[in-house]
């Protein structure tokens, strides 16, 4: 049981990372991006290539994936938002759908449609042990995934709440015109927010890619959509909300499989989202207080 909880938390922490990126982007730019799952996929493939070609180092893979997905995020932001700020909501959304289709098919051209894995010889060098607590086996990789996630969430919390950039992002999220009038370069802030959100997605890709050791072009689709529902469940604008919702969905999914409802597994997040939309559109914790991580 405890083992399943750890599995669920590992899975859920990755949903939470993706959902955080989603929420940050929606909170700041007020646009829904459908390319988030594909940013995750690109992050995973970048990590895969780094481990395969350069060095079997988890940290290096994450760092390079961070840089690559930040760049990708800026490109997506320019294409889908920068030129279309005055356009209806729908327009940006359709562009991100286009980008998502494009990225999946480009990945198919580059890496082929088949599933790739890191060779075992390299995997062994990633230090894949497991240890036992109270009769439960936990792999170091699970610990690493959880640690990286907690680290990133803390970093994001500090960034949003304690730094000047965070303040600027919060101000832009509240009212970008007012922020602009106060001398904030909102264009840069939009790009930054998108880049940070994409970086979270990219890291999630490396984590899950290495965790399951499966890389394929459509790997981001279901994850992206699930993270998206986690973000909606969390309230679409609340960073803590999306973390809780992501973890919750991960744990519920794992327990659904444990109790034999494995066919329901992928449906849970979407059912959850529709129920929330119907009965509590403002999210689990209610309130529309933007990306306020603190309860002020």
């Amino acid at each position: 049981m405890f083992e399943q909880l750890i599995n669920g938390l590992t899975q859920g922490s990755v949903y939470a990372l993706l959902a955080l990126g989603f929420t940050l982007i929606f909170g700041t730019l007020r646009m829904v991006t459908f390319a988030h799952g594909e940013v995750y996929m690109v992050g995973a493939y970048v990590g895969f290539e780094i481990i395969r070609l350069l060095a079997p180092s988890f940290m290096l893979a994450i760092l390079v994936a961070l840089a690559a997905t930040a760049l990708l995020g800026v490109i997506i932001e320019i294409l889908s938002f920068h030129f279309l700020r005055d356009a209806p909501h729908v327009t940006s959304l359709l562009v991100t759908i286009g980008i998502s289709i494009l990225l999946i098919n480009l990945a198919q051209l580059i890496w082929g449609p088949e599933t790739k894995s890191i060779p075992y010889a390299l995997l062994d060098q990633l230090d894949y042990g497991e240890f036992e607590i109270w009769g439960v086996y936990i792999t170091y990789l699970q610990i690493a995934v959880l640690m990286v996630t907690v680290l990133l969430m803390t970093a994001l919390y500090l960034l949003i709440n304690k730094t000047k950039l965070g303040m600027v992002i919060r101000a832009t999220a509240q009212d970008y015109e007012a922020a602009y009038a106060m001398g904030v370069n909102v264009n840069v802030v939009f790009s930054m927010a998108f880049a940070i959100g994409s970086m979270l997605g990219g890291v999630a890709g490396v984590l899950i890619g290495v965790y399951y050791n499966l890389f394929y072009p459509t790997m981001g689709q279901l994850y992206g959509l699930k993270a998206f529902s986690a973000s909606v469940v969390g309230g679409l604008m609340s960073l803590p909300g999306s973390v809780v919702a992501g973890l919750l969905i991960g744990v519920i999914e794992t327990f659904a499989v444990e109790f034999g409802a494995s066919s329901l597994r992928h449906m849970i997040s979407f059912l959850f989202m529709i129920l929330i939309l119907l009965f509590r559109p403002s999210g689990l914790f209610g309130g529309k207080e933007l990306i306020q991580a603190r309860g002020d």
């Binding site: 562009v95 759908i97 286009g98 494009l102 449906m267 939309l277 119907l278």
Partner: protein, 335 residues
């Protein structure tokens, strides 16, 4: 000139197009080309139904393939297990699809803009997953095979040209019914809601009710298209109704333009034809769709033929009214 003659002259372009459409199978000859034409017909109905939502009332649905899928499965199941004849199974499939449309629309239309869009996405995903995992009913990812051929009035429909004429009839029926619907109070109300919901409500238009009606109608048309698809291809699997199918429909609508009846048809035809005409593009089909979406949104948001009013008014059925109201008008005529 007698009125009948005048009507014929005024409708000459339509008569020409209709004659072309009727003669198409013999002009094309090749069975494969006719099949492409049939697929264009299926997509025309689908994109027209999506246009009802995205173009006329401004509700972005990104899960329209769900209703297409419901229609396909319902029709196949009704014919194979309930033994219904095709002529009943097809409208029944449309009605079942419409019923689902009602179930989705009724609670979610309270939500505004983006939340509704998210709900349609969630519904599409759930439907796909249900189709995939409900082995006993849908046969899961393997899909349903050996769907019977349709037969109409005692005649089996089996050859490509026969299927072509069936879909042509369905497309014409769709066009005719939509044209009539959109030019009566209903259509004008939809436009009024799209332009300014608050103002429309102030004029006494029950916006929520019209939105639900439009949603149900769109689901009905999509269900009909699904039914035809099932009996034409004779094999359906959940993969055909994944959100990607919805995205393809959105790309077609974005290319052709929305808010009139011509744009969606052009968009559907062009995007079905492009991969067929340029065989080397076959492999990059989805790349074409993705790029079309991005480029159209950046360069010409309203689509190739969007933002204009291409009247499909047949003067034969619909003599010009004394007083003309235009589609862009913010006010509604008294009835």
């Amino acid at each position: 000139m007698p009125r009948a003659l005048r009507s014929i002259l005024a409708n000459l372009p339509y008569i020409g197009l209709l004659a072309l459409a009727l003669a198409l199978p013999s002009l094309l000859g090749n069975a494969y080309y006719i099949q492409v034409a049939i697929f264009i017909g299926i997509y025309i109905i689908l994109v027209l139904s999506l246009n009802l939502l995205n173009g006329y009332i401004g509700l972005l649905s990104i899960g329209h393939a769900a209703f297409y899928g419901i229609g396909a499965y319902a029709s196949a199941k009704l014919m194979m297990e309930a033994g219904l004849p095709f002529i009943l199974a097809m409208p029944a499939a449309g009605l079942i699809s419409a019923a689902f449309g009602y179930l989705i629309a009724k609670p979610t239309l309270k939500l505004s803009g983006i939340y509704l869009t998210l709900a349609t996405l969630g519904f599409n995903m759930i439907l796909f997953l249900v189709l995939q995992s409900w082995m006993s009913f849908t046969n899961g990812p393997l899909g349903i095979m050996g769907i019977p051929q349709p037969s109409l009035f005692g005649r089996e429909i089996s050859s490509r040209p026969q299927y072509y004429y069936l879909i042509l009839a369905l497309v014409l029926l769709t066009l005719f019914s939509m044209q009539r619907l959109l030019n009566c109070r209903f259509g004008r109300a939809l436009l009024a809601i799209r332009e300014d919901q608050l103002a429309a409500e102030a004029m006494g238009i029950h916006a929520a009710r019209y939105k639900i009606q439009a949603f149900v109608l769109a689901a009905f048309y999509a269900g009909i298209a699904g039914s035809f698809y099932a009996h034409f291809v004779k094999f359906i699997s959940p993969d055909s109704f994944y959100i990607y199918e919805s995205f393809i429909l959105l790309a077609m609508l974005a290319l052709g333009g929305q808010g009139n009846l011509v744009g969606p048809m052009v968009g559907a035809a062009v995007l079905v034809l492009i991969p067929e005409l340029f065989r080397f593009l076959q492999e990059y089909r989805m790349i074409v769709y993705g790029s079309v979406l991005i480029v159209m949104m950046l360069v010409r948001r309203q689509g190739l033929l969007g933002g204009k009013n291409y009247s499909l008014r047949l003067t034969w059925f619909d003599p010009p009214a004394e007083k003309k109201y235009y589609r862009g008008d913010k006010f509604l005529p008294e009835e």
